[in-house]
Symmetry: C2
């Protein structure tokens, strides 16, 4: 049994999802979005994200934090902002003594759907199925975060995903 | 009189520079680089950066943190890594109750040298001159961080720089 925290980083909306892995079975313990408004200065938004994630880490005591990594198809400014949110998430994990693992969107889709080219809706449906949720997980950022957690915890095609996984944080 | 902390963000080498501004005069109080090795996982490197910056903030009690912002001429992966370091720097500032301000390289060069197209050596020489340093500031990351602090504190051509400054954090 291990608990994995998945994170879909963003400064405006950071998705999180907590999954408990028991052998081949996975259960969603928590999921949601840390929202911050554009009216707050960036440093205050990051402070809020860090505080909320620290609280979630203390509560769920995950064994690992899995973060969606963005490398391609984004512009430099977006990557910089996503990096800031990802940085404070990694810091919260380190301060809680939890190791971080980064996965590309392709690796996550591979783990969840068995195909690195799966669409957003398909990922959402498979996350719901794998976690036995009564309805589709929403909002998108929470579903994406659950998908990263599944990817790390071992979904369909997990081994292939691990091979694709970018070892940035590890 | 106000103290400004400048930061040139990076995960491997994060430059910092502390400048005291007294009217038209500026004095360097501190400057250096937080280095982290690639052998450490990224979350541990960020933890180290956060801890060292928090200590510097508590010691020097700056009124503002000025951060060099990268938007262009970098690839997405570099921007993501720079963003992570920048994110934990901003978080340390927020936790110390200090506001952050972001400046583009062009704005910084304009403030320090009076030209947004100034070369690296020229910036380094002007940083030394404006701060009355006995020799050229080194290493590069520390010199760059002092330049951001000067930019925020008001160097030559400060007004023009302020107009160019990207208001990301503010």
């Amino acid at each position: 049994m291990q608990v994995v925290m998945g994170i879909d980083p963003g400064a405006a909306n950071l998705g999180f999802g907590i999954v408990r892995v028991e052998g081949n079975r996975m259960v969603a313990l928590d999921g949601g979005v840390v929202e911050t408004t554009a009216e707050l200065p960036m440093e205050r938004r990051l402070e809020r994200i860090h505080a909320e994630l620290s609280e979630l880490l203390a509560w769920h005591e995950p064994k690992a934090v899995a973060i969606e990594e963005v490398f391609f198809g984004k512009n430099v400014q977006t990557a910089m902002t996503v990096g800031r949110a990802s940085g404070v998430a990694m810091l919260a994990a380190a301060q809680a003594g939890v190791s971080c693992f980064s996965y590309t969107p392709q690796a996550i889709k591979m783990a969840v759907c068995g195909s690195g080219a799966a669409g957003k809706k398909q990922v959402q449906r498979m996350v719901g199925t794998l976690l036995g949720l009564p309805e589709l997980p929403t909002p998108d950022h929470a579903a994406d975060a659950l998908a990263v957690a599944i990817c790390h915890g071992g979904g369909a095609g997990h081994r292939e995903a691990a091979e694709l996984a970018e070892g940035v944080a590890r």
